[in-house]
């Protein structure tokens, strides 16, 4: 049986259990891992954060639970039909398809996205196995690596410097279908903002330092994280993450390195435990005298939340976050431009990468 058939079987098992509960006169319910920061634990073996033992019960006794089960029944029916005829759809399409489901219609796409994640957790399969895809996210790669991709128009081999424009190679939805042909890279640098990515490319950072530059585009999509993971494990390349200096950016790093809370069931598949954080660090604000903005109330709340997030329970992060709360400041990556446009590539990054042992001089 292929993966799709197994995934379908797992889905139908859930449906069966709801059916049986109804038949036995039991109020239907399902148990699912609770998806909060209080229920993620560090897995020693894989070195990533996965869900713990805590579960929450969705019961038809409550309206919320009843709606969830009803929607789940409709989604399972839809997935079954889709798998039978070997079609696929995007998360957004699924949301629009639910328009015809009467009371089972989703109120917003985040609800249907979440339900697909629930099904992933319940079945231990991934949405791709149900033939559900995300939208293209548009994250890109530039660097000395040649990738083979099976496209609808045949197999393409693409060198991410020679065969691409300034925009770079766009990461496809299904990263597992890519093959790394060859590379001359020494490390991978993942960058949060488009502006900083463009700066590095304009300054020839990828060529000068043999670096693969991956644009995260904010909170990275699964495909981007999977690509980083594969480059790390299959090519043995160190991965460094370069973001703004605020709590939201630290969470971006955490989802790359530790796994995200929302999809901790996929941490083993997506997270790169050895990924290192370059900055901007709160201590950089002091050290480099960076221009900074005042922390907003939401920033302060997010920083305090980080202090109780088990993924950040290290001396490094505790020290940095507390320092930032003391400073009351945050800085962007591009604040480095204070010292000139080349400062980031000539001084800041070489200094940091040496400190981290990525560059050996």
């Amino acid at each position: 049986m292929d993966l799709e058939q197994k995934a379908l079987r797992a889905l139908l098992d859930i449906a069966e259990s709801i059916y049986n509960q109804l038949r036995d006169g039991v109020v239907p319910e399902i148990e699912i891992s609770s998806r909060t920061k209080y229920n993620i634990e560090f897995d020693e073996q894989s070195e990533v954060w996965v869900y713990g033992d805590r579960t929450s019960t969705r019961s038809a006794k409550t309206l919320k639970g009843a709606y969830m089960l009803l929607r789940m029944a409709y989604v399972m029916g839809f997935l079954r039909d889709q798998l039978k005829v070997n079609r696929s759809s995007t998360l957004r399409e699924l949301y629009y398809i639910s328009e015809n489901w009467g009371l089972a219609k989703f109120d917003e796409q985040s609800d249907s996205d979440r339900l697909i994640e629930d099904l992933e957790i319940l079945t231990a399969f991934q949405r791709e196995h149900f033939h559900i895809r995300p939208e293209e996210d548009g994250a890109t790669v530039v660097g000395p690596i040649k990738i083979r991709e099976e496209t609808r128009r045949g197999v393409r081999e693409i060198h991410c410097q020679d065969d691409v424009g300034e925009g770079g190679y766009q990461i496809p939805v299904n990263v597992d279908r890519l093959e790394f042909v060859e590379h001359d890279a020494k490390f991978v640098i993942a960058i949060e903002t488009g502006g900083m990515r463009d700066r590095l490319i304009e300054n020839g950072f990828d060529e000068n330092f043999d670096a693969i530059i991956v644009h995260l585009k904010g909170q990275p999509a699964r495909s981007t994280r999977r690509l980083l993971k594969r480059m790390n494990t299959e090519l043995g390349l160190p991965v460094v993450v370069f973001t703004d200096g605020d709590p939201w950016s630290y969470r971006i790093y955490a989802s790359v390195a530790y796994g995200s809370i929302k999809s901790a069931h996929l941490s083993e598949y997506l997270a790169t435990p050895s990924a290192m954080f370059i900055g901007i660090r709160p201590s950089d604000i002091v050290k480099y005298k960076l221009p900074a903005d005042k922390l907003s109330e939401q920033d302060i709340r997010a920083l305090n939340a980080i202090l109780t997030d088990p993924r950040f329970d290290t001396d490094f992060w505790k020290g940095e976050v507390k320092l930032q709360l003391e400073l009351g400041k945050k800085s962007e990556q591009q604040a480095l431009a204070k010292y000139g446009l080349d400062y980031v590539t000539d001084v800041y990054l070489p200094e940091k990468l040496s400190e981290l042992g990525v560059l050996r001089t």
């Binding site: 449906a15 059916y19 006169g25 309206l63 029944a73």
Partner: protein, 599 residues
């Protein structure tokens, strides 16, 4: 007043000042005449312990001329008193008495007689009969110069009633309907605070309104008490000094007042500097003032409060229920209190929602069980209602305004001396002690209302949730059956469980049937189950079982049958439809034949 002034007749004075007494315009005059007569009837019945049965009939006899008839089943009035009761102003048994009563000044009914005489020139006809006596019929007018009754005719007559009084007068007036200030509204409100009375009202248009009696318990008649020294004023004090039977001042104090014993009597006299053996009748106005001053300087126990006659919280609630059909009602009777030597007590009630549709609040004000129809905004009772922060209790309210809600608020103040703003007794003045009591009573009503509204909201929310679940669960059952590609699953049992019902199923297999009864409710249920089969059950066409199921318990009935079941679902008797699922509720009565078994 010096002797050079001509002593004007009181009747003449009132003729010139009729507005003070509530005759300022034609519609008000009509209400006032009815009110004076009805108040008298209620007071008389109350004193005699009779359940009042009052007929009010108004007929139009000409352009703006109305005949008013008020008839009661009261104790009747002795023949010799009748002319003075109706034909002399300021005559009445209640004038000097210190107790809670509707009329106080003794100008009430005679003012109506006078008004009739002034506006139509016609005498008032009075028929009255005491228990065992003969009915007397008088035609009375008032000599306005002398303030004495003029008897126009007298006869002994036949009257069907064993006792009672009937007054008939013809006045110029104007009859209005559907307004706060109307005879109808006055009678309706009167009936609210006099739930022991039956009042029948026949309008000029021939409509008959009956305000039912909702309790057969007459109120405890108020007890007469002597005045309290802190509540007496100079005028009445002088009058008392003149009319007392006591020979010495110390005896006068002890006998004519409450809360004065020998010791206190001596203390007051000492403080006044008067002679304790002085003849009360010999005291001057200055002496009376000294005495009054001494009263104020002396600490006294407050007056006894058992002289007050409240309506009672239960009866107020019952009355509001009867009169307005609300969905919620609450009332409070506060403990009696004292202001300036006068005992008083406050009652308040609130009726909310139900048949009360208007969003504007209706405020019913009462003093000594009399509805106050006029001067709402100038009345301290209104001010007290306004001063409560109704937002705390979930009602809307603009600053310095009555709250906005589909509600009726009732405030009643009972006292031996209601502090009216004017002689027309239309508004109460703002005595701080009274205001505070009204506020406290209303706040309690408000708290109860809020509790009710919140409980209702919770129940509504739960009901809404249940209704929604009732829609979702069947959809879930249908869809999930479709997904797993199996027979449609029955959702009734799950719904029964969620809704806390009793669920009954029957399964059959090869001539054997099992009926399962699951009690998902939180209480024990007892009922009867019937099953019918073409070929009979245990030899009978109809089988029945009496079952008793504890909460969470499941009871099984097994039986053998032949042929087809006649009833699709098991039939049950003795349980409400809403409490059962999977069976049909029937009513056979006890006569149904069949085998009887016990499950």
């Amino acid at each position: 007043m010096t002797s050079k002034h001509r002593e004007i007749s009181i009747a003449e004075f009132f003729e010139k000042n009729k507005h003070i007494l509530g005759y300022s315009n034609p519609s008000k005059a009509l209400i006032t005449c009815v009110r004076e007569a009805v108040d008298n009837s209620l007071d008389a019945c109350e004193e005699a312990g009779i359940l009042p049965d009052i007929l009010v009939k108004i007929t139009r006899t000409g352009e703006n001329v109305f005949r008013i008839v008020v008839e009661d089943n009261g104790p009747g009035i002795e023949k010799e008193h009748i002319p003075r009761v109706f034909g002399k102003l300021l005559y009445g048994s209640r004038f000097h008495a210190i107790k809670q009563s509707r009329g106080q000044q003794g100008i009430g009914i005679s003012s109506a007689v006078l008004y009739a005489q002034i506006t139509t020139g016609k005498p008032t006809t009075v028929i009255s009969k005491t228990e065992g006596g003969t009915a007397c019929r008088f035609e009375i007018m008032i000599d306005t110069k002398k303030n004495e009754p003029e008897i126009m005719s007298f006869e002994e007559t036949e009257w069907f009633s064993p006792h009672g009084t009937r007054i008939e007068l013809e006045i110029k007036g104007s009859y209005v309907k559907e307004r706060k200030q109307s005879v109808y509204e006055y009678l309706k409100e009167t009936s609210v605070v006099n739930p022991h009375a039956r009042i029948t009202f026949i309008t000029p248009d021939g409509e008959i309104h009956e305000f039912r009696r909702i309790t057969s318990e007459p109120p405890v008649p108020p007890v007469e008490i002597k005045p309290h020294p802190h509540g007496i004023e100079i005028g009445p004090l002088i009058a008392m000094l003149k009319t007392t039977k006591a020979r010495e001042l110390r005896g006068f104090l002890k006998n004519e007042f409450v809360r004065i014993g020998d010791r206190i009597s001596e203390e007051i006299i000492q403080k006044s500097g008067l002679d304790s053996r002085a003849d009360p009748r010999s005291l001057t106005r200055e002496d009376a003032e000294k005495l009054l001053n001494a009263f104020r300087l002396t600490d006294l126990l407050p007056p006894p409060v058992d002289c007050l006659s409240p309506i009672g919280d239960r009866l107020i609630m019952k009355s509001l229920m009867e009169g307005y059909s609300p969905e919620f009602v609450y009332a409070v009777t506060r403990k009696p209190r004292v202001y300036s030597g006068h005992p008083f007590l406050v009652e308040a009630g609130i009726a909310y929602g139900g048949e009360i549709k208007e969003d504007k609040i209706t405020l019913l004000r009462f003093a000594n069980k009399i509805p106050l129809l006029y001067q709402q905004s100038g009345c301290a009772l209104t001010q007290a209602v306004v001063s409560v922060n109704w937002k705390n209790y979930g009602l809307q309210q603009s600053k310095n305004e009555l709250p906005v809600a589909p509600a009726v608020i009732l405030v009643h103040v009972a006292s031996t001396n209601v502090p009216y703003v004017s002689e027309s007794k239309e508004a109460v003045s703002g005595i701080p002690e009274i205001m505070e009591e009204v506020r406290l009573a209303l706040q309690e009503c408000g708290r109860r209302l809020k509790e009710y509204v919140e409980r209702k909201k919770t129940i509504q929310k739960r009901k809404k949730k249940e209704e929604e679940l009732l829609k979702i669960i069947p959809l879930l059952a249908r869809k999930i059956s479709e997904v797993v590609e199996k027979d449609p699953v029955d959702h009734e049992k799950v719904i029964a469980r969620i809704m806390g019902k009793v669920y009954i199923t029957r399964s059959t297999d090869n001539g054997k049937a099992v009926v399962e009864i699951c009690n998902f409710s939180s209480s024990r249920k007892r009922f009867r189950i019937y099953e019918m089969c073409e070929g009979g059950i245990n030899g009978e066409r109809i089988a029945k079982w009496d079952v008793e199921v504890e909460p969470k318990e499941t009871v099984r009935i097994e039986y053998e049958f032949s042929g087809k079941h006649i009833n699709v679902k098991p039939l049950v008797e003795g349980i409400e439809n809403e409490l059962i699922a999977g069976a049909e509720v029937v009513r056979f009565g006890s006569g149904a034949e069949g085998t009887e078994s016990s499950a």
